[in-house]
């Protein structure tokens, strides 16, 4: 019996690193893609481009943080793209009436409120989150069109767009916010009661319930977090663009899910981490950025991305199978 745990205790640093890589295979995949694009394009591996890449990836990344929490719970949130659009429209549309920061806070609150509604519906009605948030995806998008009068809203005061123009070397404020949030929520997952609950609920909901975990409240919290993070993403996007398009963030929920799944978080729940999600987000960003640098036509880009997704998941099966045996 004792040998089951002994490798973990006595394992060398190399062994620990290897088993970490096996569970976070996406980083291997990421290194490979970086290598390929570095060889293919001289502009790829430059500080400037790396900075751009991080900023581009940060938007999907922030959505992916919330999505990871919800997916470890065994649920899904398809409404993040629409929530993003609403928060961004509110932040820009309201700032003429009440000033920049109150508008931003209202935008954030709208995301939290919609996330709360999603979570409450899922937890209390017993409907699958796929259905509930699919409704959210359509309904909230409709709300955005109503609010914006089907037009893109423009900022009047352009100092708004300068807020995220803070750089640490090549790293933008947006990218820093993404990384900071990712690290914070990784800490939540690994070191707090809420984090343990997340895994327990997604892994074996019966056991979680029988252990006295308030499964419903727990899910509502994670959906609320996911909605809030979507609003954060929307507000950062509105700052970056200076406009709020009613169509902003359309199908971003799909890219977000792809990034999370690419990272290795299990769709059925119970397994995953933000290390994996960061890896997935960066891989996605590298692919998009690299293919554009090579002037790949849009449709080829989509084909490559599709193939990569399937490949990465096949790799996941292969590696985890080996780890299991």
């Amino acid at each position: 019996m004792s040998h089951a745990s002994s490798p973990m205790r006595t394992g060398s640093a190399l062994h620990i690193a290897l088993s970490w890589l096996l569970r976070n295979h996406i980083w291997v995949f990421l290194a490979l893609t970086v290598l390929v694009f570095s060889l293919a394009s001289p502009y790829f591996l430059t500080l400037n481009n790396m900075g751009n890449l991080l900023t581009q990836g940060a938007f999907i990344g922030i959505l992916a943080i919330g999505m990871t929490l919800v997916m470890i719970d065994g649920e899904i949130d398809l409404s993040v793209g629409a929530i993003l659009a609403l928060a961004s429209a509110l932040a820009i549309g309201l700032q003429d009436h009440m000033g920049v920061w109150p508008a931003v806070i209202l935008g954030l609150l709208s995301g939290a409120a919609l996330g709360f509604v999603n979570g409450t519906l899922v937890a209390l009605s017993g409907m699958h989150s796929f259905v509930v948030t699919l409704g959210g995806l359509i309904g909230i998008r409709g709300l955005v069109f109503v609010y914006s009068g089907e037009n893109a809203l423009m900022v009047q005061d352009f100092s708004y767009t300068e807020i995220p123009e803070v750089y640490l070397g090549p790293v933008s404020l947006t990218a820093m916010i993404f990384l900071a949030l990712a690290l914070f929520f990784q800490w939540v997952l690994s070191s707090t009661r809420h984090g343990r609950e997340t895994y327990a609920v997604g892994d074996n909901i019966e056991a979680a319930h029988d252990s006295g975990i308030n499964v419903k409240r727990h899910k509502i919290i994670n959906f609320t977090l996911c909605g809030t993070l979507a609003a954060v993403c929307g507000i950062l996007l509105s700052m970056r663009l200076g406009t709020a398009e009613p169509n902003a963030g359309k199908i971003w929920e799909l890219w977000t899910i792809i990034a999370v799944v690419l990272g290795g978080t299990r769709l059925q729940g119970g397994y995953g981490s933000l290390w994996m999600t960061i890896g997935g987000v960066l891989t996605l960003a590298v692919l998009r950025n690299g293919l554009r640098l090579l002037n790949t036509p849009n449709y080829v880009e989509l084909m490559v991305m599709g193939a990569v997704l399937v490949l990465a998941l096949a790799l996941d099966k292969l590696l985890n199978h080996r780890e299991g045996s």
Partner: protein, 502 residues
Amino acid sequence: MTDAILKVKDITKTFPGVKALDKVSFDIRPGEVHALVGENGAGKSTLMKTLAGLHQPDSGEIVYQGKTIQVAGPLDARQKGILLIHQELSLSPELSVAENIYLGAWPTNRFGVLKKRELRRNATAALEALGCGFGPDARVGTLSVAMQQMVEIARAEAFSANVVIFDEPTASLTDTEKDQLFHTIRSLKERGVGIVYISHKMDEIFDITDRITVLRDGQVQGTLDTSETDLNQITRMMIGRTLDTFFVKAKEEFGAEVLRVEGLSKQGLFRDVSFSVHEGEVLGLYGLVGAGRSEVVETIFGVRKADAGTLYWKEGEIDLPAARQSIDMGMALVPESRKEQGLVLMMGGRENTSLPHLRLFSELSVMNRTKEMAVFEKYRSALSIKTTGPDQPVSLLSGGNQQKFVLAKWLCADPKLIILDEPTRGIDVGSKSAIHELIADLAEQGLAVIVISSEMPEVLGVSHRVLAMSEGDVVAEFTGDEMTEENLIDAVSHHTQQVAAE
């Protein structure tokens, strides 16, 4: 005599349509192992779930350590020191051993941040107290079932439980693992923990328990000291005397042999099973749950693989079949758990009836609805099934009517042998006798029928010949006047005592 640590007084619990517990009272003393026995549906699980806070009783009270308590929920029960070890383990495979021991009750500071070191230290202490050979960091999903069970038992240490309830703990353990479990149970007992032990396996109950409480139909039949009773008495109390039902037996006109089984064995499930069944004959297979009855017929049908044995179909030797072949040959198995194995609940009766024989009802893969409807109507009237129409989802039907559709679906392929596993479990009396009549009809039409049942009057009432099974062995065969309840009980209990003595 020591005072009881936990007393249950007159607990009643009703679910829609069923009185699961009817004024149940019993008590657990510190340092005793108290068995709770009864047939399926007797109320054992409901009682345990009530103690563990998973159900709230309608009336009655629970007295724990001298005080009347309310068990608000599972965590509350655990914190009070009442721990239920589920039959299907209640663990999170992706979390570590330590995290699972404290599942839902992790030590944290007031901001909800885990105290990882404390968690690990306490878990290590609990594991060491039990003498577990694994550490707190292993992922539970990588452990064997027996080790996972130890993780649950470690909760008893971690929460200083005073009462530990084991629900069928040996169901998936090997013999060595079982010995280790019993060792653990005895050491818990020595420390004054009160243990409730639920099992169908009588040898275990006589091996490890001090007292036995028998439940039947939600009522306590009695509590006895294990040393002062025997299997015979317990079995009688469990099964009881049901009201005499009128049974129809088919005429004894047997034709050629349909199936013969010789020396069928499967390690750990059954040994050296031999019998034969003829056209027009109803063969009863009696035994308590866990005797290996279902496993034997599943092996014959090809759902399970045997280690050894020969099958003869119409006097010709055949390879042990796979399920598809056995259907084609003319065998039908109506399983015990019709909801899980027998019916697609969302489908209507028409689609369920044709499901195993789609080839008979289709041309070039296109379903022939007229044919389907004809067969549906035929069995609806033949078995007098109460349904609003061919497409009413079978989930809306009563247990008896569901069971009739299960029969219909196998009958419409014209089988030569039909095996019915607990055909009347959980259905109302009216449907029961309809199914008994049907069994007689089938036999008179020349089918060979095997009926498995743990209801003695039923198996004696419908069969021409009865085999008694116990602990995986066929222990006796009775025909004619020898077919009495006394003989069956004696054969089974005598054998169990022998096994226990070994």
